[in-house]
Symmetry: C2
Amino acid sequence: MRILVIGGAGMVGRKLIERLARDGRLGGQAITALTAHDVVAPARIEAPFPIEARVSDISVPGEAAALVADRPDVIFHLAAIVSGEAEADFDKGYRINLDGTRYLLDAVRVIEGYVPRFVFTSSVAVFGAPFPEAIGDEFFLTPLTSYGTQKAIGELLLADYSRRGLLDGVGIRLPTICVRPGKPNKAASGFFSGIIREPLNGQEAILPVSEDVMHWHASPRSAVGFLLHAATMDTAPLGARRSLSMPGLAVTVGEQIEALRRVAGDKAVALIRREPDPVVQTIVAGWPRRFDAARAESLGFKAESSFDEIIRIHVEDELGGKVPL
Amino acid sequence: MRILVIGGAGMVGRKLIERLARDGRLGGQAITALTAHDVVAPARIEAPFPIEARVSDISVPGEAAALVADRPDVIFHLAAIVSGEAEADFDKGYRINLDGTRYLLDAVRVIEGYVPRFVFTSSVAVFGAPFPEAIGDEFFLTPLTSYGTQKAIGELLLADYSRRGLLDGVGIRLPTICVRPGKPNKAASGFFSGIIREPLNGQEAILPVSEDVMHWHASPRSAVGFLLHAATMDTAPLGARRSLSMPGLAVTVGEQIEALRRVAGDKAVALIRREPDPVVQTIVAGWPRRFDAARAESLGFKAESSFDEIIRIHVEDELGGKVPL
């Protein structure tokens, strides 16, 4: 089985490749080769199969065709210009997120008799406020950003190409990934991970919102699990509706903090410094808080059931299993 | 005021231009020039302002830019490859319906300080079965054809470009237009018009479905009215949701026939020959039957309130006001 990961240098892409390297197989079949593609060189990962790193821009005509020329059995398309950048740079967002995705779909389409599994990471940004208390899969597409628009278009194309038998697509809308490893970044959502990650490292974290803010989370390990399940599941029950909101956990910031206290004690919690930021508060107020992922759950997708579990996964996967405090 | 009609050779495009020629003005402003564009030469129409006919393919790069170079104040984009052809010819459907639409939107976008009203004819094909009893504007986008997919993508682009202030878009999803003038065609929906139009001409019409089949209709005159209202309405109340299902009339075939009897008598009705066609019955069974167009109605869009009225409009507009029988 040959696998292509587009967006292989990102956090989720890297964790996906590490997991595939560890498993050596996917859906009961041995992996014989993997191509890790991105605009920057993906990290070297040891695996029982050859991993080819490729660096290029999928929005350059011809590049997508080159990537699928050896007919990978499974294509993971994780590459995207993120929300803030797609909003700031109109051309770049549409070029990568819309044209790049379409080039990939078309590169697959034109190869006679080739119908790979095509896993597309969509986003909850396909939905825009005002929201119901829990957003179901039948909530209408109302993106309020160019990024959300581009992802919604990707979902529509994925469904049409799948319906026509040109590929076998599954679109997954990921929750906010928490605890995100690495350094703090400037994303407005960064504090959801920061208030856990920094205290576990003995460092101070800034909390810019109040503790009653609720958000929708899943661990990086769950994100990889969603991708693997999307790559191997029976797609017949999807019918014409190829994109799914993934399961997750709706917790308030206050509940996150209490989970941190249970896992790492009062000393960790004491490192969280409240510094209300009206700009971040306003952005976060427009975000979805909870989804009804019944459809994905009934199709076998699974996420964490407590925030304690999300923290423990971070400790296991990023901190060698030890709470440092 | 300068107007551009793309798709000016089609039935609705022609009627729109005839109406604009008759009115001489739009939204209280005198029309100074109109460009009628299509892939075939639009019919010559007399008007109190110059009408330039242009023939080209909007999916050829550069053509869209040439069309909007003189900055029309209102752009009506009615051009499309129809459902059956877009399904049969994948490349052509995506090239005209998606690329062509995007070229137009982008041609407008790149002109600094130019924000025209952009009226886009979408379609109820953005929705796919299973349907609720009446389909509201918040029903999720579930196209089951490539045509519906392309129209749904057009709606998403229109909303994003409008949100960013690049143009001032309104998308309208038209009901089935009835009574469609002209000769019988092979569209599966053709009989809805045929069972009225042919008997009024003293000709036999075939009815391939049972009389309890319900469908969603508006007259060609209403279709033109929707376009004019979309071109002149205040778009502020639309917010980020730029596309609307138009009002119409849900009637059964039996109700259509009784309306024909009231308008044109038993002799007309006797010209309808029942010839059940299982293929047409199956196609029609998958179509939406009724919409809840409350949002469009509250914004001032109006359709007929009885099928008698729809028949009388046909008699007035196509038969010189006289019922020929």
